[in-house]
């Protein structure tokens, strides 16, 4: 894998590229331009950048107003203060009106590190996923992040793009296809399918490589779009592999694991496990220590894979 990069940096670079191509693109921030990385756009296009100060709720409603005048607005802050603090503004001013606002929300998950649990969103995907009309994108690396920004700009209506602070592994290539709502099978396998998003895609790939050495064939699916979920892919992987593991840097409640569970329930009876944060808040620490503490590692993914495979052989799956 290539050198590590953070998805927030890629987000900032993509906005600046997009701004050069499309004069209708505006960017909003709430005093975090140097953290969300909208600062690049702000420097290049100061007349199309709006800093709303530390007032996220106001930023969301004002972005709706701007968007309804024909602009594509990218509004950025930390995931917690966007999806959490300004939830009802996102719901009523943006989603309810179908405003063309893209939420680029950063510092999601324990990878935000030392700032601690008050700043690490572990529930943002769940909150955004239940909003009618909201698309939810969790790119797995810096390369995919740029594609996600451009793809989100192409569609009319709200979208949430989850970005991270930590430089992380690159697991896709410039030529890897990206289409909103279309999962990418990064690795074929027969015994278990790992469906992952965000930084856990890399851990899934590491886990699959380690499992291969143990004689287990694990598929890896990059589910970069949590909503609309590629349900056909989920069911196809269940049919092909007979066991599913999800992996996400988010609560196991309501995020990717929850979405996949909703799809499997009633459609496919296969052993299933969710790797993610087990209904806990985050805390301060170095990201790598936090990943171990919260079970967000390739080892945790491997263990989950072995569990579901054991259950499969104990009780053969019914179709």
């Amino acid at each position: 894998m290539a050198e590590k990069q953070s998805t927030r940096v890629a987000y900032g670079e993509a906005l600046a590229e997009l701004g050069a191509k499309d004069a209708r693109v505006l960017v909003a921030d709430a005093d975090l331009a140097h953290a969300t990385m909208t600062v690049d756009f702000a420097t290049k296009f100061p007349d199309r950048f709006y800093n709303f100060g530390i007032a996220e709720a106001n930023m969301m409603c004002a972005s709706s107003g701007l968007a309804h005048c024909g602009y594509t607005v990218f509004a950025s802050t930390f995931a917690l203060f966007g999806a959490g603090r300004a939830y009802e503004q996102i719901r009523n001013a943006i989603c309810y009106t179908g405003a063309n606002v893209k939420l680029g929300l950063s510092h999601a998950g324990p990878s935000a590190g030392e700032d601690g649990g008050s700043h690490q969103a572990v529930e943002d995907i769940a909150l955004m996923r239940v909003l009618p009309g909201m698309k939810v994108l969790v790119p797995c690396d810096a390369i995919e992040m740029k594609k996600a920004v451009f793809a989100a700009a192409e569609i009319d209506g709200p979208a949430f793009i989850r970005t991270g602070r930590l430089p992380t592994d690159i697991c896709t290539e410039a030529s890897t296809p990206f289409e909103i709502g279309k999962a990418v099978v990064l690795r074929e396998g027969a015994d278990v399918a790992i469906i992952a998003c965000g930084i856990m895609v890399a851990q899934a790939l590491y886990a699959a490589a380690a499992l291969e050495a143990q004689g287990i064939s694990a598929a890896v699916v990059n589910m970069h779009t949590i909503k609309p979920l590629d349900e056909a892919c989920v069911l196809e992987m269940a049919r092909r592999c007979g066991a599913i593991v999800t992996a996400e840097e988010h609560s196991v409640i309501g995020g990717l694991g929850g979405a996949v569970a909703e799809t499997l329930a009633g459609n496919a009876c296969v052993p299933f496990e969710r790797v993610g944060i087990q209904d806990r808040f985050g805390q301060s620490g170095k990201p790598q220590d936090l990943f171990r503490e919260y079970g967000l590692t390739a080892e945790a993914v491997q263990a989950a894979c072995r569990h579901v495979i054991d259950r499969k052989s104990a009780a053969p799956a019914q179709g």
Binding site: S64, G65, H68, Q89
Partner: protein, 267 residues
């Protein structure tokens, strides 16, 4: 107020009562208090074209106190945005007229409001757009007194002054009552104009039931600052048993009450 203005205001009030009686729900008090404010806007101030509703350079009107939407609907119907018969479908399943304004369903409605405090912040976004080089329009936002208790209002007030949004005007329908009682009992507003001045706004006052006075305040030459116009009003204005009565914030009328109210409208 001329006789023509008074007749028009009475007709709008009668429409409001008929709409609210038909659906047996909704908010009569705060609808009746903003009749003259909306007539001033649509008769004398706003630039708009009912035949070209999406005209990018139209002035925007945001009813932040969205529960008062029957008044907006009655005025929009009167101005030809949609057939008047639609008014009697208010709050019914499938109606273009929702219980709170919905810009995706109602022709002429510029913002979906009802979640109090959001309308001013949405107006801020419109005003930022209206000041961009490619645009030139004004934005008017009607707020209720109770919703000034929302923190979001003050986030928007600070930003409007920071961005020198002289194209933004807030109109306060100051009837002094909210659901649980008088503002002063529930959560005092204090000297509300002084608060807006402290946030960098120009402030004016106009009788909220005098179309000419409201018009003069809204059409006064625009300066450097956003404008706040305090309009003292009477909640339930025009229907004697509803005036200044907190209980008529949101209560359905009986047949007898409706007949009495319509008689007062000369119907």
């Amino acid at each position: 107020m001329t006789q023509i203005q008074e007749n028009k205001a009475r007709q709008i009030r009668a429409d409001i009562l008929r709409m609210l009686f038909a659906c047996q729900s909704g908010h009569p008090g705060g609808s009746l208090s903003s009749v003259e404010i909306l007539l001033a806007l649509y008769d004398n101030v706003l630039r708009y074209d009912p035949q070209n509703r999406d005209w990018p350079e139209r002035d925007r009107l945001v009813l932040s106190k969205g529960h008062g939407c029957p008044t907006l609907y009655a005025v929009l119907a009167d101005k030809g945005f949609f057939p008047r018969e639609k008014l009697w479908t208010l709050r019914q399943l499938g109606s273009i007229l929702q219980g709170h304004p919905d810009m995706r369903k109602t022709p002429g409605v510029d913002a979906s409001t009802g979640s109090l405090g959001q309308g001013l912040s949405i107006s801020l976004g419109y005003a930022l757009a209206g000041k961009r080089p490619e645009h030139h329009f004004r934005v008017f936002c009607i707020v209720g007194d109770g919703e000034l208790q929302e923190g979001l209002i003050w986030e928007a007030a600070m930003a409007a002054s920071h961005y020198r949004l002289h194209n933004l005007t807030v109109i306060l329908d100051y009837n002094g009552l909210q659901i649980d009682g008088a503002n002063e009992q529930v959560m005092s507003l204090g000297d509300i104009s002084e608060k807006f001045r402290a946030f960098g706004w120009e402030t004016l006052t106009a009788d909220g039931h005098d179309v000419d006075a409201i018009t003069a305040a809204l059409n006064a030459p625009v300066g450097e600052k956003p404008r706040f116009v305090l309009c003292p009003t009477v909640k339930g204005k025009g229907v004697s048993f509803m005036e200044n009565a907190c209980c008529w914030h949101g209560r359905p009328m009986t047949q007898e009450q409706y007949d009495d109210a319509m008689r007062e409208m000369g119907c």
